[in-house]
């Protein structure tokens, strides 16, 4: 008996782990890690007398120190924050509300609503940008006509062309497009709440909206956290919709310029402006750091404190 106990356990080297990990690791390294490192490297280099030279933090000094650059950067960052806040205050609450409505057992045509609301998410941003530009067009758009039907024509304005409302309008278009994502995630989270919990709540006389606030919402908080962080990352990487709706100069008067469009103009150039790869890489790195900071804050400060319930 004892012999068996003391016999050393011989484990074969588990090659299969490495083999199975290798494809993902190689692909991810080639298309994500290496470009990221190269971008970081490029931000420390600049062209001096026609040759690429290591300049240390000089590019960052220019970005934050020179008045023109820092003005453009802070303008883009503030606009980006507004863009994010609108998503958090409009898209996500409405998405959660829609999910709550969809999970009402008595509701009919659930599948239809679900599909219809999720559909814009599947559309290309080019199509979304184009149709909204048409809808809001003061000349051919249906928006002024629809508003005149309910006597609200006076409220219509060429929003996309006004420096105040343009950013809000673009944000709301983006909300419209992506509202399906929070809705679907929350909907799935709501469905995964066990019947027993709901029944127990009903036994205690908690029904309707108070049931949602007191029972369901705490249970879906982790899902809301995930949505918030997805929104944050998505918004600070956003570019496409602003580019299709407002162009690369993010008009009028730079009022819809976000970090993505600033990066595009700097890196690739625009019209007579030639691309500046080093400064572009610098902005890309700063964007990366902002997103990294946001995600870290969420992971360490919020997610750890979140209470999870196991059933």
């Amino acid at each position: 008996m004892t012999d068996i106990d003391t016999a050393p356990i011989k484990r074969p080297i588990r090659w299969h782990i490495g083999v199975f990990l290798a494809p993902a690791f190689v692909v991810y390294t080639a298309i994500m890690i290496l470009p990221l490192i190269e971008t970081l490297r490029l931000s420390f280099y600049n062209t001096v007398d026609g040759a690429s030279t290591f300049v240390g933090l000089a590019n960052y000094q220019v970005l934050f120190g020179e008045q023109r650059w820092s003005h453009d950067f802070w303008n883009a960052l503030v606009n980006n924050l507004i863009f994010f806040v609108i998503h958090m205050c409009v898209q996500n609450p409405i998405g959660i509300a829609l999910a709550a409505l969809l999970s009402v057992p008595k509701l009919r045509f659930v599948a239809f609503y679900r599909t219809a609301i999720f559909l814009p998410t599947l559309l290309s941003f080019v199509i979304v940008g184009f149709i909204w530009k048409l809808i809001l067009s003061p000349i051919w758009g249906v928006a002024p006509w629809l508003m005149s039907l309910v006597g609200a024509k006076w409220m219509f304005a060429p929003w996309l062309g006004q420096s105040g409302p343009a950013l809000i309008a673009v944000s709301l278009i983006s909300n419209w497009q992506y509202i399906g994502i929070p809705m679907m995630l929350i909907y799935a989270a709501l469905l995964s709440i066990p019947e027993e919990v709901i029944e127990a709540a009903e036994m205690d006389g908690i029904t309707g909206w108070s049931q949602f606030w007191k029972i369901k919402l705490p249970l879906i908080l982790p899902a809301i956290g995930i949505i918030s962080i997805l929104t944050f990352v998505g918004n600070f990487n956003a570019f496409d919709l602003v580019y299709t709706v407002q162009g690369a100069l993010a008009g009028p008067d730079m009022s819809t310029d976000i970090l993505g469009t600033l990066l595009y103009r700097t890196f690739f150039g625009f019209q007579l402006q030639l691309g500046d790869r080093s400064m572009g890489a610098t902005i890309a790195t700063v964007m990366f750091l902002i997103i990294l900071a946001g995600v870290s804050f969420y992971l360490f400060a919020i997610q750890r404190r979140m209470r999870r319930y196991q059933f």
């Binding site: 023109r68 150039g269 019209q271």
Partner: protein
């Protein structure tokens, strides 16, 4: 049956050998942003050239205009660009020449067909080397709805005063939007607005050169006045012009809903094919009757030779052909509104194009003020001018503030006389 088979075999051998001869041909690839011109190249220009030059084949491969510069630069850096490069005017191409990506074409035999002004857009600052063959320029002015003018009894305005009187009359009548222009796309306000009427204020080339030499500033009245005029356009623009895009403006005019369209001559082909009414054109109105008029006659397209091309000789043959009056003739007539820069006058059949080009006789030509040298740094003066021109019309900035902002941006990196 066997005879038929033999015939087939024979035919296929002959065809195959014909194919082999084709394969030995040199194919030149042309990089361009003019995807609108694809049909003209394939149907008219390429056959004409290939007929005269057996053994050389051409392939026209355009990119979207807004992506052209970025993609061309990337392709040139990677060594995968085509043999023939369509050149943007001024700095964008000069940069390529300085990077030794374009060949010096000063000694090309066809270059003698162009005046120094025509070559200026593709020459070094000292004018010693030219690196692209000038192809075409565009002229700014106003295209108007002749039927509307006749109906309202308006004659073509020559002075500023008449221009605004005409606008007032159209506005009072109410059937037409007086001016078809929007500020959504920004560049309309700058290119069709500021660069269109501006030369009359800054005296064309004199002002432009003085600005480059630092003798004038964008805050001087010559440069602020055009903005003041632009600001006066606001009441004559259509409802919701702030969100009106370039194509909206084009459609408003061609549908007959607007009376005057601040234009570039490149619109001619499209307008002639779409508009159901008679059109005319007039140059930017002068300040007082009898003043010398200035027009923006802006070199827009040239062609150059990729230094890495493996077919330098054939490419030079092609470029010499582009520099010939024969090419100018086909091109200018196929694309009315793109005026040949060739010294040999070209006979054009389009009446609207003739109208535009006739101004060259009595008006002094100039190029867009922001294109040469002044858009080399950051902030880019051209892009800033787009933003500020739209701001002035929208009322976001006063003309004075716009001038100050632009000058401040320019001062940030440009030291004249250096």
């Amino acid at each position: 049956m066997t005879r038929f088979l033999k015939g087939m075999l024979f035919a296929s051998t002959v065809l195959a050998s014909a194919g082999a001869v084709h394969a030995a041909d040199v194919t030149l690839t042309i990089e361009s942003w003019r995807n609108d011109d694809l049909a003209i190249w394939q149907e008219k220009l390429i056959p004409a050239f290939e007929k005269a030059n057996p053994g050389i084949k051409l392939k026209f491969s355009p990119t979207a205009p807004t992506e052209y510069n970025a993609s061309l630069n990337a392709k040139l850096d990677a060594g995968s660009a085509g043999d023939i490069i369509t050149c943007r005017p001024f700095d964008a191409s000069l940069e390529l020449f300085n990077k030794k990506q374009l060949v010096d074409l000063t000694s090309l035999s066809g270059m003698a067909n162009f005046s120094p002004v025509a070559k200026a857009a593709w020459s070094t600052d000292d004018g010693k080397s030219t690196f692209c063959v000038p192809m075409a320029s565009v002229i700014h002015g106003f295209i108007y709805n002749k039927d509307a003018f006749d109906k309202l009894g308006i004659s073509v305005p020559k002075t500023n005063e008449e221009f605004f009187a005409a606008l007032d009359k159209i506005k009072k009548d109410g059937n037409y939007i007086p001016l078809a222009m929007g500020t959504k796309d920004l560049w309309e306000a700058a290119t069709m607005g500021y660069q269109n009427i501006g030369p009359n204020y800054w005296k064309g080339e004199d002002g432009r050169k003085a600005l480059i030499e630092g003798k004038e500033k964008l805050t001087d009245p010559e440069w602020v006045k055009p903005y003041e005029e632009l600001a006066k356009w606001k009441p004559y623009l259509g409802d919701g012009f702030e969100a009106q895009t370039y194509s909206d403006s084009q459609n408003l005019f061609t549908l007959g809903r607007a009376a005057i369209y601040p234009a570039g001559s490149w619109e001619i082909a499209l307008f002639t094919s779409q508009a159901q009414f008679k059109m005319g054109a007039f140059p930017p109105p002068v300040l007082k009757a009898g003043d010398t008029g200035y027009i923006s006659d802006h070199p827009d397209i040239g062609v150059g030779l990729n230094a890495k091309s493996t077919h330098q000789e054939e490419a030079k043959k092609f470029l010499t052909w582009v520099a010939s009056p024969e090419f100018a003739n086909i091109y200018a007539n196929a694309l009315p509104g793109f005026f040949s820069l060739n010294s040999t006058p070209v006979k054009m059949s389009d009446p609207l194009a003739q109208e535009f080009v006739s101004w060259r006789a009595s008006f002094k030509p100039t190029v867009r003020s922001t294109y040469q040298i002044l858009s080399r740094g950051k902030p880019n003066l051209e892009n800033e001018t787009w933003v500020e021109s739209a701001n002035v019309i929208n009322g976001t900035d006063t003309p004075k503030v716009a001038g100050e902002k632009l000058q401040k941006g320019l001062d940030g990196w440009y030291k004249p006389g250096k």
